[in-house]
């Protein structure tokens, strides 16, 4: 059976240890050198960047997340051993791990590291589909002759380069489609390399829970439970028509995934569909002034990102989460697409005025969708709001000041609330 050493990249026929360097980090599979779809997932990415930048943290439990009320965004493996998980409320994480070092996310540092990893991936293939800062699909089909080595070797090399040059580790899942590659990368974390070949697919999936399917959340799980579907074996008993009748278009996909089939290509340029931002408060609040301040900051962040991408949007969305975690969203169509924080804020504020009294809230978010080119945006004014042109001019001027002197060079008074 073809095998590969993840440490020294030696390829050999079989064995539990590498014949060259005696490393036990060996991956073996009959199809190892034929598979081309990979998923790379960094190990505890934010925490790893922090540990790399501050070596004193190396053996301490590190949690990345915001504030007293925030949730855990990333926990390092030391903290994970104590039971801390991503998306866990911070207070709970601190009960489990009181000596944890909590660090507020430094997104710029992570984005920087992400760009460096991205550059390394681009040496392997142009077909990269990033899912977030720390994970991406890669399609290495047809690259073997170019690199003089099969994809598996190049991927192991990528991980080694990341470790050597960036001080960051990642795990690879290699398979024949995105669905399985993503599952595989999670099987052997951290510093893992897992392979699911065509021949292994059916055996691999059979007794696994359908929860593994990306996009099946609590609601999806509940719907599947009601249909008596827990594992892929349960799913295999359904024919396509019955699944479609019960689950709609998702049923079609479920039928294919049950058989380990996923025809979605690795698309390098997924067009951005929406831009949004949200924040969880330290304490639930129904204070309109406080919420208004948050609303402005969210609108400004959304506008900043739209401007950076030269995009504008025709729909403004307001999202609120009540203390009991029920979510409230409202949206409004704009006649004229916008990328201005002022417009996004004002329209979101109108939506807020309709529902604002139903608080207290624990989270507020704001988004822009139905995106279009910035050239189509903000082309006509509002008769009833003659000050809009002035405010838009002021915002553009403030943007230029911030571009030159830094993001905090000029802020609106209401951003300070």
């Amino acid at each position: 059976m073809p095998a590969l050493c993840c440490d020294c990249l030696t390829t050999f026929d079989a064995g539990r240890r590498c014949p060259a360097c005696r490393s036990p980090r060996v991956v073996a599979n009959p199809e190892l050198f034929d598979l081309t779809i990979a998923h790379m997932d960094c190990d505890a990415f934010y925490a790893s960047v922090e540990k790399r930048d501050d070596p004193s943290l190396a053996d301490k439990p590190v949690i990345i997340g915001g504030g007293r009320r925030g949730v855990v965004s990333t926990a390092c493996y030391v903290a994970r051993i104590r039971g801390v998980k991503s998306a866990m409320p911070m207070f709970k994480a601190l009960q489990l791990c009181p000596d944890a070092v909590v660090i507020r996310p430094r997104m710029e540092a992570y984005a920087e590291a992400s760009r460096a990893i991205r550059a390394m991936m681009e040496d392997l293939t142009p077909a990269i589909q990033p899912l977030s800062l720390d994970e991406a699909f890669m399609d290495l089909s047809g690259t073997e002759r170019l690199h003089g080595a099969p994809p598996a070797v190049m991927l192991a090399k990528l991980i080694r380069r990341m470790k050597d040059q960036l001080g960051l580790t990642g795990s690879i899942g290699l398979s024949h489609n995105k669905f399985l590659a993503k599952i595989a990368s999670d099987l052997d974390k951290p510093r893992g390399f897992s392979v699911i070949g065509r021949g292994d697919t059916a055996d691999f999936l059979r007794d696994r829970p359908v929860r593994l399917i990306w996009g099946v959340g609590d609601a999806g799980q509940a719907a599947l439970d009601r249909a008596g579907i827990r594992t892929f074996a349960d799913l295999l008993r359904w024919d396509r028509a019955a699944l479609v009748a019960r689950f709609g278009s998702m049923g079609d996909r479920l039928y294919d995934l049950a058989r380990g089939e996923d025809r979605r290509p690795v698309t390098a340029h997924e067009p951005v569909k929406s831009i949004s931002n949200e924040t969880t408060f330290h304490e639930d609040t129904s204070d309109p002034d406080l919420l208004d301040g948050h609303l402005w900051r969210m609108a400004e962040k959304v506008a900043d990102r739209a401007k950076a991408k030269d995009l504008a949007g025709r729909v403004v969305t307001l999202k609120l989460k009540r203390a009991d975690h029920t979510i409230l969203t409202r949206q409004v169509n704009l006649r004229d697409a916008t990328q201005l924080a002022d417009t996004i804020y004002r329209r979101a504020r109108e939506l807020f005025d309709q529902v604002g009294a139903q608080g207290p809230y624990r989270l507020l978010g704001c988004g822009l969708s139905h995106l279009c080119d910035a050239g189509e945006a903000d082309r006509s004014g509002d008769l009833l709001d003659p000050g809009a042109a002035k405010r838009s001019g002021a915002e553009r001027a403030a943007d230029r000041i911030r571009a030159r002197f830094g993001a905090d060079a000029i802020v609106k008074g209401r951003a300070l609330r």
């Binding site: 006649r335 004229d336 109108e350 006509s380 004014g381 008769l383 009833l384 709001d385 003659p386």
Partner: protein, 372 residues
């Protein structure tokens, strides 16, 4: 209840009623029309809780009484009956059915008790006056295109009917705007209307009202209170809640100092705008107007789909000007002009533009330009 009525009279009465009924109803009774027979009259009453319409028609009533049936079903049946048929409606209270008979056709419809039908509370009207149908028709027809559909600014979802000071004295005025264009239409103040409170008449009411105004000879009795407005002909009474909000101060929106004057044949202008806008695929089709002495060039440049240009001979004597507009808005205001030339008054390419018919100050339109 048992009555006979000629099919034509029944259709007219039922169609007005059924158009008020909302297509999708969560409250079943609101899908029904209340039929009340008494003396030699039958009344059809329908409501969506905001608007109530009552339509009277002469009928041969054998047995007085009342019931409710689905407005759309009844309307569909009557519509499909042959012209000139005599229709007999018989309510069987015990069975909860209404029988509709005409010639050899026989229908049996489910009913709901008349007691469940919500009748709109009557109101104290502060102002009652009478206006010719032609006057109301002009006021609403020329302003309704500018009504907003935005839900957040709900106070713009109707026509603001009020008494205003104009140059020639006090007038009855309709104003509508969606923030991109505005229409301000004046009519002579009818006797007895001076004390009328300003009200915002909702879009749907404006649509329903239009059906009362087709007869040029008709006089419409108008009653207005702070919360309701009523329009009545001898046969039909339309009562509507008005929008509970404050209409913005539109007077500061209407430009006073626009000096650059363009005069153009409205129909020619509209056709040219329509033609050049064809090449644009954008949602908001932008048309550029380039003005120089007695010459107007209309153009559209859509990088993805093409370009178009058309030249018009116009009357213009000011500094050259380039200004862009949404083609749809230009078409809509140009189509309001029916007697004289359209007169546009511009300021700069970023300021609102005013349009009126000749020198007629009783119908004024304002439109916001767009960047091109």
């Amino acid at each position: 209840m048992k009555l006979s009525i000629e099919r034509g009279a029944l259709l007219k009465a039922v169609s007005q009623a059924q158009s008020v009924v909302e297509r999708r109803n969560t409250i079943p009774i609101l899908a029904n029309v209340l039929i009340e027979a008494e003396g030699d009259m039958v009344r059809f009453r329908a409501t969506d809780l905001d608007i109530e319409v009552v339509d009277k028609a002469p009928a041969k009533v054998e047995r007085a009484g009342a019931t409710t049936v689905s407005a759309t079903t009844l309307h569909e049946i009557v519509r499909k009956l042959p012209d000139g048929a005599l229709v007999t409606l018989t309510a069987d209270g015990a069975a909860g059915r209404l029988t509709v008979e005409a010639g050899r056709s026989n229908f049996s419809l489910a009913t709901l008790p008349k007691e469940d039908f919500p009748v709109m509370a009557s109101s104290e009207y502060q102002s009652n006056f009478s206006a010719p149908a032609t006057v109301l028709r002009r006021l609403f027809d020329k302003s309704k295109f500018a009504i907003s559909t935005e839900e957040t600014r709900y106070y713009l979802n109707g026509v603001y009917l009020h008494v205003a000071e104009a140059d020639g004295g006090r007038v009855l005025r309709c104003v509508a705007t969606d923030g991109h264009r505005l229409a301000r239409i004046d009519a002579d103040l009818p006797d007895g209307a001076a004390g009328m409170p300003g009200v915002i008449v909702p879009r749907k009411t404006v649509g329903e009202l239009r059906k009362l105004l087709d007869d040029d000879e008709a006089k419409i009795a108008v009653s207005v209170s702070e919360t309701k407005i009523r329009f009545a002909t001898p046969e039909i009474t339309l009562t509507s809640k008005v929008i509970d909000g404050t209409f913005p101060d539109y007077s500061r929106v209407i430009p006073q100092n626009n000096t650059r004057r363009l005069e153009v044949d409205a129909a020619e202008f509209a056709q040219a705008v329509d033609r050049v806008a064809t090449v644009s695929s954008e949602r908001s089709r932008a048309v550029k107007l380039e003005l120089s002495e007695d010459r107007l060039i209309l153009s559209v440049n859509a990088p993805d789909s093409g370009a178009a240009e058309e030249e018009l001979a116009v009357a213009y004597g000011d500094d050259p000007l380039q200004i862009g507009f949404n083609a749809k808005y230009l078409l809509e205001i140009a189509s309001q002009v029916d007697r004289e030339n359209a007169v546009f008054l511009f300021n700069s390419s970023g300021d609102p533009t005013l349009m009126r018919e000749g020198n007629d100050q009783s119908a004024v339109y304002v439109v916001m330009p767009m960047r091109v």
